[in-house]
Amino acid sequence: MTSVASAPVALTADGVSKAYGDRRALQGVSFSAHRGERIAIIGPNGAGKTTLLQILAGSLKPSGGSVSLEGGEIGWVPQQPALYSKLSVAENLRLFARLERCPDVEATVERMLDQTGLRDRARDETGSLSGGNRQRVNVAIGLLAEPSVLLLDEPTSSLDPRQRERLWVFVSGLAEAGTAVVYATHNVAEAERFADRVLVLADGELLFSGSPRELERTVGGDAEAPDFESAFVRFLHDRGH
């Protein structure tokens, strides 16, 4: 935590708000993500996690506030695989590499086939792949531009435990290489294991920003909450959620 906190800032959200008519989905959310840092956004359903990630990714305009990227690119991995099921794995990677204006498209495709371990499925239509493999291609597309910040929305929701483990090992490797990783998840245990910092969102408000241990300490430690999930639930309960 200490080491990544001192790393250069890769992304800053400053007072980001989003309203749909009278409903306020996000209210003045501010935080920074450092290079090599893994940030988990957790919160109950409807907290605004996906909305925040979409705004950070640039696919949704905020009603207020701003997002600034300190150089590099943002990679975006939506919750549902965003792939063309009639195209093969390689064709999907090639299409998005071209749209990302990668300088050497074929080399990029080859690199991503190696990184995702899908070289032997390169010619298969993605519609014929398992949910886990589709998610691997989905993540690979997010990484095509070699982003300095990688945003993932519920990346393991459709994966079995073995695939989840492989994905987190892969993502952790990216973070170690200096990529800032920000992800939303419902799986609090994953946040505890694979996040340097958690952001707790509820009703569009950022209620907490700190390490999992700091969250546990906030609610009184082992006496009040024996594990991280209990601490998280207690934290929300104490704040009226």
């Binding site: 696919s59 965003a82 063309y84 195209l87 299409l95």
Partner: protein, 450 residues
């Protein structure tokens, strides 16, 4: 944009069944609709029973024998006859559906015609017509065709009678020979010759002869009668066709029925392919969750609209160009005008493509987009094809306004002008305007597409 376009073509290439159904369905539906719109059968099949004995086919007209069967030829000009021998056979053909109607000429028709011509009071000759009434439209068509052919035959007979009457008048005025039944050939003096004789006889009488005044009266009567009967000949001639017809096309199509059918089929196919493809392929971007990924800097929403419009327009343009080429060859259309056809097909495809993208943007899912495109296309086409005079004028004005908001009617007008001549710029400008308006609507619909 070109990578997205290639991607869409690749996806279509991998969906041959879907593309085949889309194209096949569009062509078949449009061709059938075009054919149905432009016809009844061009020559309805009619069973024909001539019950007049061969020896009774002649009618005496003045001193001449006229073969009444030659007027049957008039009946066959507009129908496809099935010749049968009896009335029952003719009716059976209608009942079975083999013939749409039957025309029976009874055995006594020439006797009655002879009686009518001889003013014997034998009653007017009558022919019998039988219809298959399973379809009111079909029945009306056959009835109109037979009525019109009978009117032609009646007119031909009356023209023959009038010609003979005029010849008689000529003999009465100028004198000559006339052949009469039983009596044979008879010399007729004629009014003018009678006047000459009377004038000569009157000149030979003494100046104070009391007969001179009476003969002068007879001579004046002969001259007046000859002059007036001479004048009545052109009047008689005009009776055979009292009203002349001079046709002018004031507005609308100069196309033949078959060219109109081809135009309807081509624009119909263009509409189905462009709408369904544009709406479906845009909705696919959302269904595959790719839209959110694309618009975060990879592709602008405007470029996405342009790409989908281009894709749909390209497919519709290629399909309708091939279609019109084939139909043009079959119907003998003027290929020298084909550059104009291509301009119309290109602009029409763009307008329908833009409309399809607007539908796709509003509906979001492939299935609902396809359904919406299909549901919208049918009334759009139907409204555009409502002819003037078919409904009340206020309703027709409303229909014109509504159908002007969609590309079908201006597409038909433009293609008609490109094929057969007429005002082309206005419908082309209309199509271009619709392409822009629907593109703008499509762009607006993408604001909340994700």
């Amino acid at each position: 944009m070109r990578w997205l376009l290639l991607k869409d073509l690749q996806i279509l290439r991998r969906s041959p069944l879907l593309v085949g159904v889309l194209i096949g369905y569009s062509i078949v539906v449009s061709l059938v609709a075009g054919a149905a719109l432009s016809s009844g059968p061009s020559k309805p099949t009619v069973a024909f029973a001539n019950l007049v004995p061969r020896e009774k086919s002649q009618v005496a007209l003045g001193g001449r024998q006229v073969d009444a069967t030659k007027y049957a030829g008039k009946l066959f000009a507009k129908v496809q006859p099935i010749r049968v021998k009896t009335r029952a056979e003719a009716i059976a053909k209608v009942r079975s559906g083999e013939a749409l109607g039957a025309l029976v000429v009874p055995a006594d028709v020439t006797d009655k015609l002879q009686g009518t011509l001889g003013l014997s009071g034998a009653g007017r000759p009558t022919v019998e017509v039988y219809f298959n009434a399973d379809n009111p439209l079909k029945r009306q068509f056959v009835q109109d065709t037979i009525d019109s052919t009978l009117a032609d035959a009646n007119q031909a007979i009356s023209a023959e009678v009038l010609r003979e009457a005029a010849r008689y008048l000529n003999i009465i005025v100028a004198g000559g020979k006339v052949a009469l039944p039983i009596v044979g050939s008879v010399d007729i003096l004629g009014l003018r010759n009678a006047q000459t004789i009377i004038d000569a006889a009157r000149a030979g009488l003494p100046a104070n002869a009391p007969e001179r005044a009476a003969l002068a009266q007879v001579s004046r009567f002969a001259r007046l009668a000859a002059d007036n009967l001479d004048l009545s000949k052109p009047i008689l001639a005009s009776i055979s066709s009292p009203v002349r017809v001079q046709e002018h096309v004031v507005a609308g199509s100069k196309s033949s029925l078959s060219a109109f059918a081809a135009e309807a089929a081509v624009i119909g196919s263009m509409m189905f392919v462009a709408l369904l493809l544009a709406a479906g392929m845009l909705a696919l971007e959302r269904e595959e969750n790719a839209f959110g990924r694309l618009i975060r800097g990879l592709v602008t929403r405007t470029a996405l609209v342009a790409e989908k419009v281009t894709l749909a327009a390209l497919a519709a343009f290629v399909l309708t160009t091939v279609m019109l080429g084939i139909l043009g060859g079959l119907l003998g259309l003027d290929f020298a005008r084909s550059p104009l056809w291509l301009v119309v097909l290109a602009l029409g495809s763009l307008a329908f493509g833009a409309m399809g993208v607007a539908i796709g943007g509003a509906t979001r899912e492939v299935r609902s987009a396809s359904l919406a495109a299909f549901v919208v296309s049918l009334p759009v086409a139907a409204l555009a094809l409502v002819p003037s005079g078919a409904v009340a004028s206020g309703l027709y004005d409303l229909i014109r306004v509504v159908s002007a908001a969609f590309p079908f009617r201006p597409g038909m007008q433009a293609l008609d002008a490109a094929i057969s001549g007429g005002e082309l710029l206005v419908p082309l400008a209309h199509l271009a305007a619709l392409a822009l308006v629907f593109s703008a609507l499509a762009r607006l619909s993408l604001r909340r597409f994700a």
